[in-house]
Amino acid sequence: MRKYFINIEGVETPVETEFGLNEVVFKNGDKSNFEYKFITDELILLRVDEKNYLIKSEAVPDSEIKNTEFILEYDSKAYSLVCKSELELLTEKFARNRGEIKIKNELVSPMPGAIVKINVKEGDEVKKGDVLIVLEAMKMENELKAAANCKVQKILVEEKTPVDKNQVLIKFEV
């Protein structure tokens, strides 16, 4: 029996599930049968108690512990989901107690393009949602925003210069 602790869209009571071969038992005692087929690595047809679900998984590159955070898309709507094994839950608790899980401390370019404008300077305190950099790519200007409140430590690029995908643009103090 594999056991997972699953939290969907930050729902307060996590769903706790135990898997048999093709049977799943939920925390509240409900049982369901299921079967599935992978259409691609990111897309499955799932049949739960004879009901069909075509579900897509989108990669979440920044999860603290790999392979615990998922964005699942069903019927053109996206749901965030956290799925942890017992071991991962323990690991996380341990790391948190030691204060060793860090928030993301860099802004990287999501695509190749050119820096149009840099709105911050080193030492600035920025708030979540502030536009840090305007990046031009595919003939469009795209705003890159701060993911959390933090302080700009170092800016590694200049305006009007090209950047590659995943290039680090700004480093933050955490």
């Binding site: 594999r2 998984s57 996206a78």
Partner: protein, 502 residues
């Protein structure tokens, strides 16, 4: 009729043109950049010539190179599609000077209508209503004040060379006028190197409605009805439909007559689109003429049964229009949604990457125009459109239902898409009522969407939980073990760096 034509374009519109040419027994020549070597349109054309590197400036905008291919391949005419060289009058001239027919209007007509000031003057001369304002650039604050007094606030200051909202300012009171004028001039100077601006009456929350016209080279013109294009975000059209919810016979007649009148006055020929703004009281104002085929042309084709590309080819080969205005019949309703590789949750940022999977089930009443196949890539070089879905039904409600069903059955893996955004738009009450204008998406819809909450019922919750566990286990098998940390977090997490030491 031509025996062979060259298509100076790529992607879905190249496919669209090749298809009609083939139906007419005309051979097709494709031109391609490095990126498009094995794209759909280069595969289905009869011939395909390499013309340069992937950036458009080094391939699809190389007029000389494209003409050279046309001569080498023996093509008698060039179809420019939309974008790229389609509205460059010099290209039309180069083609015709070298004995190759440009499938579109004459270069004089493109040039005359391409200048906003000139087009507006032409409209005024031909009794086509325009937004009140100056015909020439405004010299100074004094002159601006006089004009504002005459036409009344609110007014809009616009850069002559403008586009994309730069150098544009709405002014609501006399107090703001001086500073707004200066700011608009500064913006225009830095964006276009030309600080001339003009002033016009500001039409608040207008609709954007355009008319499709066909004009032959013998002075005959018909209009094929309107397209409602008010569903826009930052001047990018999202959903287009025909008929417009506000259209009536009388308004269609008056707007259609204006569209034909301005085209004939400009010596226009071939297919074209005349754009209008329409205010709350159904007053309409001429905006501009697009001297080419439009992205949204299929909805007109569905509603009139007329193949616009075929008519373009017939007109270019010198044939007369086979219809008079009263022969044009409108049936049913059609809408078009543009499926784009972009992320609505991150400010519609384009999403690049390989299309690992495209699943669709179009069925009855749907048309798809696309130039992209599973395994292709969405690159930074060109636009982010994956496909255009067009639904057609006896009435608008049925057409919306068909579109919704088709979008729900459209699955793309590999890049983010705007499909969920399109579905949300189709379902919103304003859309269903047809009660929207060009400001709706940005002012009303996006703020509302940001506030909306996610609802999950118990059954879906179970299905998602199971799916999450399945994906998790699949990933673990692929990385060969449990609790392995990703490369990116190895770099960032101190604990994981020191894991070996424990």
């Amino acid at each position: 009729m031509f025996k062979k034509i060259l298509i100076a374009n790529r992607g879905e519109i190249a496919v669209r043109i090749i298809n009609t040419a083939r139906e007419m027994g005309i051979k097709t020549v494709a031109v391609f950049s490095n990126f498009d070597r094995y794209s759909m349109y280069t595969k289905i054309a009869d011939e395909a010539y390499h013309i340069g590197e992937s950036p458009a400036a080094k391939s699809y905008l190389l007029a000389d190179k494209i003409l050279e291919v046309a001569k080498k391949s023996g093509a008698e005419a060039i179809h420019p599609g939309y974008g790229f060289l389609s509205e460059r009058s010099f290209f039309a001239k180069m083609c015709n000077d070298s004995g190759i027919k440009f499938i579109g209007p004459s270069h004089d007509a493109i040039q005359d209508l391409g200048s906003k000031t000139h087009a507006k003057q032409l409209a005024v001369k031909n009794k086509v209503p325009v937004v009140a304002g100056t015909e020439n650039a405004v010299k100074d604050g004094e002159e601006a004040k006089k004009i504002a007094d005459k036409i009344g606030f609110p007014i809009m200051i616009k850069a002559s060379a403008g586009g994309g909202g730069k150098g544009m300012r709405v002014v609501r009171t006399m107090d703001e006028l001086d500073s707004s004028l200066r700011m608009a001039q500064n913006e225009a100077r830095s964006a276009f190197g030309d600080d001339s601006v003009f002033i016009e009456k500001y039409v608040d929350s207008p609709r954007h409605i355009e008319f499709q016209i066909l004009v032959d080279e013998h002075g005959n013109a018909v209009h094929l009805g309107e397209r409602e294009c008010s569903m826009q975000r930052r001047h990018q059209k999202i959903i287009e439909e025909t008929p417009s919810a506000i259209m009536d016979e009388d308004l269609r007649y008056r707007m259609g007559e204006c569209a034909k009148r301005i085209a004939l006055a400009a010596g226009y020929s071939n297919a074209g689109t005349v754009e209008f703004m329409v205010d709350k009281d159904k007053n309409f104002y001429f905006l501009e003429v697009n001297t080419r085929l439009q992205v949204e042309h299929p909805i007109t084709e569905m509603r009139t049964g007329i193949d616009l590309v075929k008519e373009q080819l017939l007109i270019a080969s010198g044939e007369k229009l086979k219809w008079k205005q009263e022969d044009i019949k409108f049936n049913g309703a059609a809408l078009e949604c543009r499926i784009c590789a972009e992320d609505p949750d991150s400010n519609f940022m384009p999403s690049t990457g390989k299309l690992k999977y495209i699943g669709r089930n179009l069925g009855n009443g749907m048309r798809e125009d696309t130039g992209i196949e599973q395994g292709n890539e969405i690159s930074i070089f060109y636009d982010s459109m994956i496909a255009k879905l067009i639904s057609y039904a006896p009435d608008r409600k049925l057409a919306i239902e068909k579109m919704e069903r088709a979008l729900r059955n459209y699955t793309v893996v590999g890049v983010k898409t705007n499909i969920s955004f399109l579905l949300n738009l189709l379902k919103c009450p304003e859309y269903i009522e047809g009660d929207y204008n060009t400001q709706f998406v940005e002012r009303v819809f996006l703020p509302r969407l940001a506030e909306s909450k996610i609802e999950i019922d118990a059954e879906l919750q179970k299905a998602l939980a199971i799916a999450g566990a399945i994906f998790k286990e699949k990933n673990e098998k692929q990385t060969g073990g449990k609790n392995i940390t990703s490369k990116s977090s190895v770099k960032k997490s101190g604990w994981l760096k020191r894991k070996d030491l424990y």
